[in-house]
């Protein structure tokens, strides 16, 4: 009796409580884990430093500012062999971003079209799409890249075949597909072209604002204004008007055969085309399945209810099915975009100068700074992945069902 009524001793903490008392045990486990991880990292870093002293290398990033001394086949910013390794890395980064962005756009277009066609009632069309999906999903991307590259470089005509009687001809006199790359008309920016671009950008914003306003009007008052045609008109008409008012500031430069090769226009190199097509077709196959699953995930009652309310097929699709399907589609779509971006590092197979080829390839081999180069390369890809995830999360949140 006496022992029960006594206050517990003030200093009642025992060491064993760290293991047996659930209040403290989680702390113990975390501290032990952190300790083990720290020991592991310390061991790795210790080994690293010992190895580096053995080799006589001091980790430093100063090589980035020294002269690169190599040429890059495709540069979006001014670059020469006299530029620094950092510039070479920028060139590579831009090339990676270019092929990733092109790939994402084309893969999405392909995937959405194929995904809808896959659900077509037309037996032949849906089977054809199934064959496309299975063929691309079940064969390694690398094989597709080298295969498409081989098609592009072996089966396309040489530039000299485009001469009189050479057997090859340009498409619409504007596009030439050769084994040295695809030549397309390129824009030439004239005197007032800046104004034109600004007007175009402003009218795009205008079209967006119109859509916003029309939607608000619809939800507030129930008045339905046409959404598509006015927006397209707002986006295009001012630009066309000003194009002529300003005296055609932007012209197209057509590629022309001169000597042994094409000159003028825009040259899209074979590696870029092959990589772009392969990435887009491969990822497009995955997106096809995602789109299909997304549309199938919307229960049939939704479309039936919409029909019962008297909505037409296209409005059922755009107002009822797609908004719900998008919620299912976007999360896996994000991971496909991430995959495509990471897979763009397979540029190595076709010699496209992406960031892995410049920073993680030639720069690394020339300077021998494997540790620093791989670290920067890893950080770049990590940052890119996080940015894409972030953007897609914003889109996903804007699509999310707003529950009360």
């Amino acid at each position: 009796m006496s022992s029960m009524s006594e206050n517990p001793p003030r200093n009642s903490f025992h060491l064993s409580q760290l293991i047996y008392d659930t209040r403290y045990r989680s702390m113990t486990i975390q501290v032990v884990t952190l300790g083990l991880v720290c020991v592991g990292i310390w061991w790795l870093v210790d080994n690293l430093l010992a190895n580096l002293t053995d080799l006589g290398i001091e980790p430093s990033f100063s090589f980035l500012s020294s002269r690169a001394g190599y040429d890059i086949g495709m540069t979006l910013i001014p670059y020469s062999s006299a530029s620094s390794h950092l510039d070479a890395a920028y060139v590579g980064i831009l090339n990676t971003l270019l092929v990733a962005a092109l790939g994402i756009v084309l893969a999405t277009v392909l995937g959405v079209i194929a995904g809808v066609l896959r659900l077509s009632k037309n037996w032949l069309v849906s089977r054809l799409m199934a064959v496309y999906v299975e063929a691309f999903r079940n064969v390694p991307l690398l094989l597709w890249i080298v295969l498409i590259y081989a098609v592009m470089s072996e089966s396309t005509p040489q530039p000299r075949d485009f001469r009189e009687g050479g057997g090859a001809s340009m498409i619409w006199d504007a596009i030439a597909i050769t084994n040295r790359g695809v030549y397309v008309p390129g824009p030439v920016w004239g005197a007032n072209s800046g104004i034109l671009v600004a007007i175009f950008a402003a009218s795009l914003v205008g079209a967006f604002v119109y859509r916003r306003w029309a939607k608000k009007l619809l939800f507030d008052t129930g008045r339905l204004l046409p959404l598509v045609w006015p927006a397209i008109l707002i986006a295009i008409v001012p630009s066309i008007l000003f194009y002529f008012i300003l005296g055609r500031p932007v012209t197209l430069d057509y590629p022309a055969l001169g000597g042994f090769n094409f000159s003028g226009g825009l040259q899209i190199s074979t590696p870029l085309v092959a990589l772009w097509l392969a990435l887009a077709l491969y990822t497009g196959a995955f997106i096809t399945e995602i789109v299909r699953a997304g549309i199938l995930a919307v229960s049939k009652g939704q479309s039936e209810a919409s029909e019962a309310l008297g909505m037409r097929a296209n409005r059922t699709m755009s107002l009822v099915i797609l908004p719900q399907a998008m919620r299912v589609i976007i999360p896996p779509l994000t991971s496909q975009y991430l995959n495509l971006t990471k897979n763009s590092s397979l540029a190595i197979a076709v010699g496209y100068p992406d960031v892995r080829a410049t920073l993680g390839g030639i720069t690394l081999n020339q300077t021998g700074r494997a540790l620093e180069c791989m670290l920067l390369l890893g950080l770049f890809y990590l940052a890119l992945s996080l940015i894409i995830s972030f953007v897609m999360n914003i889109i996903n949140n804007s699509m999310k069902l707003e529950e009360r």
Partner: protein, 438 residues
């Protein structure tokens, strides 16, 4: 009034049944099918025509090439001679002779030809070992064989002394008994003991023990270095080893990510996101260029092993995400039920949650394996001879210089068959799980 019925013999009524009419021609058989499936609307009809053209376009290019394929020749130039002699110089004909000449190399790389039986037997053992895991109807006692199969497969593929895999397996047995003995003392101590004691055994005791046993009783088969591995065998070895080895790590990472413990959670999330945020090819270059920097000075081990380690870490992050999905799919009542039975964390995970979560995760794990199996082709860039790497070395010989399509088609078909079959299996599994959960 009822008798009027009997006298209905007037002209308005027909007294005999009309013979059954055949349905309209457009509503039966092939025509109906065509109308419904290929030409229901104008838009669909256009789609059908376009599809037919696409199919014709592809077939008209590929079919002659494929059907004219030449299977018997010893070099590309001989292939061309045969083609010129039989079909004319302009005909398109595949030279599949390269495959009948080099198929063994594409499958096994530079593995010694007298030992080809070893990878084949290993594959059979692998499939047999997987069967109890993948198909629930096989008795549980075969699981023992599944547990032993990695060691048998290692012995078959790399050869050497039989004592090495046996003694390595003994380490796991030691760990198991240490955990059992210490379990009565404390769970955390048991877990730590089960990790530390076997590691000490493997690093300190095992190699001398193997040498002694090998001295006493020398049993073994020809040792084969891993740089002789190649072709599909290499792809399968890297893929399977990485998936199997990454399972424990992936499960631990998934548990860490689902854990309430702040530090454990953040460490797991960090590891998973870093690994997943960077392309495999960068990790492979890390393995080939940098991994030696992070090991004690003087340590060298072969590239294949380094690649397996790196791919294991890589796939662990992906497996962790799959298992996390499985953990999330286990109903909350199961966790609470385990708690209310008084089970501690590891017991509830081991006995209640993980068996359910892993079962749900198997389709995802199979899909991860398909992705990883396809990605093993990337090892060509760090100098390993996967099937694509072998195409380069086949082209390097004067006989087959300049041959592309036939090799790519062959490799593509093999990958397609393997991945398609696994994909179908995982879909079957998903459907089965859905049925069982309903």
């Amino acid at each position: 009034m009822s008798d009027t019925d009997a006298h209905v013999t007037n002209a308005y009524f027909r007294e005999t049944m009309i013979a059954q009419q055949p349905p309209p021609a457009t509503e039966t058989g092939a025509i109906k099918w065509l109308r419904e499936n290929l030409f229901p609307t104008w838009l669909n009809a256009i789609g059908t025509v376009v599809s037919l053209y696409v199919i014709y376009f592809i077939l008209s290019h590929v079919a002659p090439w494929f059907l004219n394929g030449i299977w018997n020749a010893s070099s590309l130039s001989e292939c061309r001679e045969i083609r010129d002699a039989t079909l004319g110089p302009d005909a398109s004909a595949a030279c599949f002779a390269v495959i009948s000449d080099r198929w063994q190399q594409l499958l096994f790389g530079f593995y010694p030809s007298e030992a080809y039986w070893r990878p084949v037997v290993a594959l059979v053992i692998l499939l047999a070992g997987l069967a109890p895991v993948l198909f629930g109807s096989i008795p549980r006692r075969f699981m023992a064989f599944s547990l032993a199969s990695p060691f048998i497969i290692f012995f078959l593929l790399w050869g050497g002394s039989i004592w090495l895999p046996i003694m390595a397996a003994v380490g796991f047995v030691i760990g198991f008994y240490v955990a059992r003995a210490l379990a009565s003392v404390n769970q955390i101590v048991a877990v730590l003991g089960a990790i530390i004691v076997p590691i000490l055994y493997w690093f300190v005791v095992m190699m001398p023990l193997v040498n002694i046993l090998q001295g006493i009783l020398p049993i073994g088969i020809m040792a084969i270095e891993s740089k002789q591995f190649g072709g599909f065998m290499l792809s399968i070895v890297i893929g399977v080893a990485a998936i199997v080895l990454s399972l424990p790590l992936g499960i631990i990472l998934a548990l860490g990510r689902a854990s309430d413990l702040f530090i454990v959670n953040k460490l797991s999330v960090g590891f998973i996101e870093v690994i997943r945020g960077v392309p495999l090819i960068v990790w492979l270059f890390t393995a080939s260029l940098l991994l030696n920097y992070f090991l004690p000075p003087g340590t060298t081990f072969d590239l294949t092993l380094r690649v397996i380690i790196m791919v294991t870490l890589f796939s662990a992050a992906y497996i962790a995400e799959v298992v996390r999905g499985g953990l999330a799919a286990v109903p909350k009542g199961q966790y609470e039920g385990a708690d209310s039975l008084g089970l501690d964390y590891w017991q509830s995970m081991r006995l209640i949650v993980l068996p359910q979560a892993l079962k749900i995760s198997i389709p995802g794990i199979v899909n991860t394996f398909i992705g990883l199996f396809k990605d093993t082709t990337l090892v060509v860039f760090i100098g390993l001879l996967d099937p694509l790497g072998l195409t380069n070395s086949i082209r390097a010989s004067t006989d087959w210089n300049g041959i592309y399509w036939e090799l790519y088609v062959f490799i593509g078909l093999l990958f397609f068959v393997a991945c398609y079959a696994m994909g179908r299996y995982s879909m079957y599994l998903e459907r089965k799980l859905q049925r069982e959960n309903r």
